[in-house]
Assembly symmetry: C2
Homo-oligomer: 533 residues x 2
């Protein structure tokens, strides 16, 4: 009886439209970050044969998807979105148990609605088909568009159990929106949330007549098998959000066969606060920064992890105020023991490179996975000496302040910066900082994907103009965004050209008649909704 | 006196706006393909210090280019284009001497005008600025566009001394058009042509007030230094067209630091000729194919190197007719001894894998670098056994015919194909081949960048709808085209987003007013030429 119960508690994988027992023998359990105890339910580690089986099923689904209309694919995404709303209660409870993220407002009122919205936006993009930039040269009868490229494997991160989940998040929506099947690799931090999501994805696929294998779920496989998958000729692309070292291993394997691997790896998101801004509105900025850095226990890719100030009274005041805010603010629970240990080792690394701890700096002694709100400080001179170590990402409720002696030193510090997702500049609204701004903007601009003015970077709007991307090592390719529909769909597609192809054989999007009346197409150099001729 | 003459004959490199003696001690000479004798003029092999100096100068130019308007950059490209026309005589004579390509019509009436046109199109694209896909969300005040990403090193191939030259070709025009400086690495097959081009590029840059270092020329450096350059943090991107093995080494180095390397490596360009087409118009197709395969001595990236036929009388007739055309056609001179030896070894490789020689197959015994027009044949069954070796590119006047027993075998053969630039299907105009077409099109479509109907692949129009790209290993990334302006500019840019950035600090292209009145922008989901508000 015990044995049966144990067997039953091993969660099934989703392969080729079927929920079934994994053939793997190794298992793992998720950890409750509040108690450090394992949560109910064992999840299998899939062996290579199972990974390959999923890939082959995805390949079949990819071929079948060619015959599925954009409208039908959109219907699948909308059906899935509706199912997530219907099962919201169970989803947010499960996710909260696995991640310690609060049900309200975070999971229920912010992240799940955002996830549902992303799926609907992707449905709309798929249906409208403007995302694929149809381009037609009527004189030469050459036509091109972006098109699905094959099975996409999406590795979701630990910090967004819905909005970046491999089976429901932005990469998932983009890959399906562009017409590709998805193999989701659950994050081991929230496997049961991923399973529930996959149940709805799979049910939606069946309800809307999608090919079996359009969505599949594995919980875990070895790094070695990850590399094997990345280098497999059937794989179309990889979407990966997570830690740098395993991400780079995937990229290395994918690079050998020219498979695009879109990675989001690490970012410390420099924020420069110029003296005029502090003179003008110190309290406002102190409050904005503290909120942005500690919100969600700082576990955002766009967390402001590096603050750059010029030496002076205003900066001293800013630091001491932030220090007391950090000391007073409640300490949030981290996503799990590994996040906690990585944050602590990040802090140690920064200390070893010469950073001084102003607030927090150690484990807070509570039962859950927690680290004190941590504020650190270093001089510009020291930063220049240890610029590599001092750019170590300490993912969580931590930030490092760099005090530069003067503008020249600030420029030098910024010039050492690696690629980041975002960069912010706070400046006086009355022109007092313009010269400084003009001297630092060019240095920051080329090192970040998104440049902000007078605003913290943690809000990542799902806007078509958003860029949630940036120069390496923030991401694997600075030409693409992971957030923002329809732009994010382009990553999971290939440019396909039709040269003198007979009209009846063209994809509908490239035929003379605008297929929806709403598809933007570039015809002879002009964007238009009109038909040809 | 002799020594002085020798010293004088070492051609200078172009670094940071100056023509000067290289610090390198090794030199090389170009070879006359008609005589195998070295041509006049020694060219230096640059040591690492010189490569790095060029990179640092390019970086300075990159920073300076931020302050150069789109109009001024366009003026530079147009000025350069005009200079090439003015010096046409000397350019085509030099190029013909170095490559054995005929002055007329190829160099003077086709390739040089095409090159001039590409520069003008890039000038127009730079000025109009629609290429950078400006995208504006007015509600959230988030704005994004593609922007220059840093110094670009362009490695030109041997087969287009003008149109793909690192200092004048498509990648050059695209990189400059997008706002990046270019370090050109001349192809060692035509260094003097590259030098003359660079003289005009440099003079045009000076005449139009461009930053020093916007265009630079090196003739050669070691593969090791190439890798060092590719992995250098200052390098923005690589454009490379050429042999596979050195290209992959560059990619490997660039991949370690996430620098995009756009490669065009190899392609055998499968052409399927279905029975209905042969029944209908055999003579026409025989003539089209023979012309396409032997034109320019077959030295095109899009040369039809693999013909796929179904077994039958029509196919036998096709083969025997082509065989006699190949026997009778004059034998062209190849670009140089290395092209000749690679072609011969490619033919040997195909033979060793079971292909039979129907025409040619060996060196033609003349003084110049020549291989007989070579037609080879293999069964579908044999192809399936040795599909990797039988996809060896034999660059030049050669093609391999594969005879499949039936449609299933043809589908199997196509399913083995690696990524290619192009794929063609010839079919009956009266519907006799529709079923075959529908069964093979999906297999070919995803393996090629450009799909053609009833047309050989060798014409690569400079159209905005063109895709001269394709899945790996044809190129390094299937999402980009090397030919076709404005699309080709995107490769040499990064996506840059402005979130709540004050209006006066935005790039002109993203400000409320349409900067030229002619810049297409995507505002709140609609493409428009209008201003905001």
């Amino acid at each position: 009886m015990h044995i049966i119960k144990y067997m039953e508690s091993i969660r099934p994988v989703l392969i080729n439209g079927e929920w079934r027992k994994s053939s793997g023998t190794d298992t793992f359990q998720a950890i409750n970050p509040l108690t450090r105890e394992p949560l109910e339910g064992c999840f299998p580690v899939s062996p290579w044969e199972e990974v390959e089986e999923a890939l082959i099923a995805a390949e079949k689904a990819f071929v079948a998807l060619r015959s599925v209309s954009n409208e039908d694919r959109a219907a699948f995404l909308n059906n899935y979105a509706a199912r997530l709303e219907a099962r919201a209660e169970e989803l947010v409870d499960t996710a909260s148990r696995e991640t310690a993220l609060p049900v309200e407002p975070r999971l229920k009122s912010v992240e799940l609605p955002r996830t549902v919205n992303q799926l609907k936006l992707a449905a709309n993009a798929a249906e409208k088909a403007s995302w694929c930039l149809p381009t037609i040269d009527t004189q030469l009868n050459i036509r091109s568009m972006y098109s699905a490229l094959g099975p996409v494997c999406v590795f979701g991160p630990n910090n967004f159990p819905f909005a970046f989940n491999g089976i429901s998040g932005g990469d998932f929506a983009a890959a399906i929106g562009a017409g590709n099947p998805v193999i989701a690799k659950a994050n081991p931090g929230h496997p049961d949330t991923s399973r529930l999501l996959a149940e709805e994805a799979s049910a939606a696929a069946e309800a809307t007549g999608m090919p079996r294998g359009i969505v599949q779920l594995l919980y875990r496989f070895s790094h070695e098998d990850g590399s094997r998958l990345a280098a497999h000729p059937l794989l179309g692309a990889i979407g990966y959000t997570g830690a740098k070292s395993p991400g780079l291993k995937l990229k290395q394997a994918a690079d050998t066969v020219g498979t695009p691997a879109y990675l989001e790896l690490s970012s410390i998101n420099p924020v420069v606060i110029l003296p005029g801004a502090l003179k003008e509105r110190a309290n406002e900025i102190i409050s904005e920064f503290s909120t942005s850095c500690l919100m969600g226990t700082g576990q955002f890719c766009t967390n402001p992890g590096l603050i750059l100030l010029l030496a002076g009274q205003e900066s001293d005041h800013f630091i001491s105020e932030v220090q007391s805010k950090f000391d007073q603010a409640p300490v949030g629970t981290l996503l799990g023991p590994n996040v906690e240990s990585q944050l602590l080792s990040g802090i140690e690394c920064l200390k070893s490179a010469g950073a001084e701890v102003l607030a927090g700096g150690t484990s807070d002694g509570s039962k859950g996975c927690c680290v004190q709100n941590t504020l650190m400080k270093v001089t510009g001179r020291q930063f220049l000496k240890e610029s590599e170590l001092l750019q170590t990402e300490a993912f969580g409720n931590q930030s490092l302040v760099v005090i530069a002696d003067d503008l020249e030193e600030l420029r030098a510090v910024l010039s050492c910066m690696e690629g980041n997702l975002t960069g912010c500049i706070y400046s006086s609204t009355e022109g007092a900082d313009e010269d400084h701004y003009n001297q630092i903007e060019p240095i920051i601009r080329r090192r970040v994907g998104r440049l902000l003015n007078d605003k913290m970077p943690t809000g990542v709007a799902v806007s078509e103009a958003m860029n949630h991307g940036g120069p390496f090592p923030a991401t694997g390719h600075s030409g693409f965004t992971a957030v923002g529909i329809p732009a994010s769909l382009i990553r999971f597609s290939a440019l396909q050209c039709y040269d003198a192809v007979r009209s009846s054989r063209l994809p509908v999007v490239l035929q003379d008649t605008n297929p929806t009346g709403k598809t933007w197409r570039r015809i002879d150099g002009e964007w238009t909704l009109k038909d040809i001729g």
